[in-house]
Amino acid sequence: MAKSRRFSAGRRKFLKGAAVAGAATLATPGKPAVAAPTRRVTTPLQDPRAETGTPPEVEVLTADHCGSDFMVDVIKSLDIEYFCANPGSSFRALHESIVNYGGNQKPEFITCCHEESSVAMAHAYSKIEGKPIGVMAHGTVGLQHAAMAIYNAYCDRVPMFIVVGNSLDATQRRPGVEWEHSVQDAASMVRDFVKWDDTPISLGHFAESAARAYKIAMTPPMEPVLLVADSDLQERPLSEKEKLRVQKVTRTSPPQGDSGAVAEAAKLLVAAQNPVIIADRAARTPAGMKYLIELAETLQAPVLDQGGRMNFPSRHRLNLSGRGRPLIAEADVILGLELTDFWGTVNAYRDQLERTSRRITKPGTKLISITAGDLYIKANYQDFERYPEIDLAMAADAEATLPALIEAVKKLITPDRKSAFQARGAKLAAAHEAAVEQARKEAAYGWDASPISTARMSAELWAQIKNEDWSLVSNGASGWPQRLWNFDKYYQQIGGSGGAGVGYGAPASVGGALANRKYGRLSVSIQNDGDLMYAPGVLWTAAHHRIPLLSVMHNNRAYHQEVMHLQRMGNRHNRGIDRAYIGTTIEDPNIDYAKLAQSMGWFAEGPITDPKDLGPAIKRALAAVKHGEPALVDVVSQPR
């Protein structure tokens, strides 16, 4: 992986030398290079310095290679497939090196219309592919646009390789905008929610920091990292004189739970009468899902999948995600795997005038936590949630710890326990079947309603994709896909935004679809209307880069979460809620999302209001997607 090239650095030294040489040739210090004119002249058409300065044949205006070429060598060594970016002058050299010197392959430049879209695309790509891609942005205005999406990725424990352009040397900045686009410490704005950043001052420094950044990003808890690429460093000419070396990237083994703690956890789980396994971001890779299935089946314990990743098959007989509350209330041991909010999982919370909470577990219930989150907590942003009183906490990566835990559990199982496990498993399987049947019954309510129910929308979509190799690259509609569809592959579910920053959904679905494209998978999304309106330009990105995606709009014409908050406040103050629509609905005029998508090169239909029209519309859209196009069906839907 390590490569070296013979490049020399130092544009300023190089140009300065050329200029000095020219001056030495043409001018004597203290005297003009050319004698003053002896006759009166009119206002010159050209700057007289063009006549008196360095002759064109001496001034050096081009260089075959520049610093950003070497940066591309470094980036290629990281096996980064794409760079998502809106173009910007502070990284113009790196942009040019990617598309020309690098051949626009690994990385390929993905044109984005907003930095928030660039980051969200990279976010979802990483969750499908298990490794980061790059994002480029101005260190100032671009990073300001990108910040919310970076925070989402940070909360969602997603690796990402961000490069921002900046011009540190004030004496080299172009007058005007380059000053507005320059900053002393570019990374400071997002330092609270990236895992590591650096501002290299040499190309060797860039190479070393890039390798370090990649390693840090890929070590659980995985997080975004950021490098500042100084414009002078990017643009300085390189010659063949100086060696620059691309560093070998080291991959760190993820941290496993302490062997004593693993043994203790196994003992508690095997002895438990009602153990419950809860998973949020437990499965980082397909192997994580496999391990979780093995642990659950070994223990015959129910799994509650909180959906941060694709942790557990939706139709597995031990999947009881829909019965979380009663199972938690009955549990004597709870194993939490990479939970975002363990406290919120074992407590009920009531958002009334006086906020109250109560523990919902039985007294004495043992709580076991395995999370890499315990290895990395910052102070300012509060995504770490309320402090949970855990009995056995392992600061470790859950996926890496599961094999040892499974083996420890197996060693402790006696024939009596095995018999008890089988009896428990039979009851859980019956409960799973009952939950599936209940979901079908619930889905029938409002089946023929208009606006279309979210259950009907999910069922109609499932009917069209169930025989395809599909991947849901968005959240579902009120959890209906998870209740009605058969999720059994890792890439079929990628979880949410992490930080609940709205505007993630549309670009994330395009990023997920970008990752799925080379495998020929059918990417599908359920797209919220309010989310799409943040940065709809990502529709153009999908069309431009021929990223196939079937997007079904969950167009409920409001920010419904916020409507409900307004209702809560209106009622709390005895003022009624009939004005809660003000500032929370997206009506008058209604947005025609089909026309919006069509204007950016998508196949699109809608708005669909009659549920009978929905299935055929999705079928036509799917045909377009199979031809390589993105396609959208606008569905006017119930709120939730």
């Binding site: 889905a443 309510y445 409002g446 979210t454 409900m564 209106g570 009622n571 003022r575």
Partner: protein, 115 residues
């Protein structure tokens, strides 16, 4: 919302016939209020409910006194609807609307729900 769901789920069973304690309500006005007061936001326009927000109210046989008691002082997450916001007559109208909601089609009659 989970607290509300549990309470209403406990009350679930079969549709209750109107009792002497149930005032006469206007289902048409109740439907209008159900939309105006935003009940549909959490419970769906057809009262179908949502796992994410509020329980199903269609075919939910909660009695009128308990219905009124709950909306006035919910034990779960639902915002309280005092008499200043929803009068007793409006509550009766809302209840009449919920009682008038038709049963859904049988699951077995919907091919898409057999997948």
């Amino acid at each position: 919302m989970k607290g509300l769901f549990l309470i209403l789920a406990m009350l679930a069973g079969s549709q209750n016939p109107p009792s002497a304690n149930t005032p006469r309500g206007d289902p048409q006005n109740g439907k209008m209020l159900f939309m105006k007061y935003g009940c549909f936001e959490c419970h769906g326009r057809e009262g179908q409910g949502s796992n994410a927000t509020g329980p199903r109210l269609n075919q939910n046989p909660i009695t009128y006194p308990r219905f009124v008691a709950y909306i006035r002082k919910p034990s779960g997450e639902m915002p309280p609807y005092t008499a200043k916001v929803v009068t007793d007559q409006q509550a009766a109208d809302l209840y009449a609307f919920l009682q008038s909601l038709p049963k859904p089609p049988a699951v077995d009659s919907i091919p898409l729900l057999k997948q």
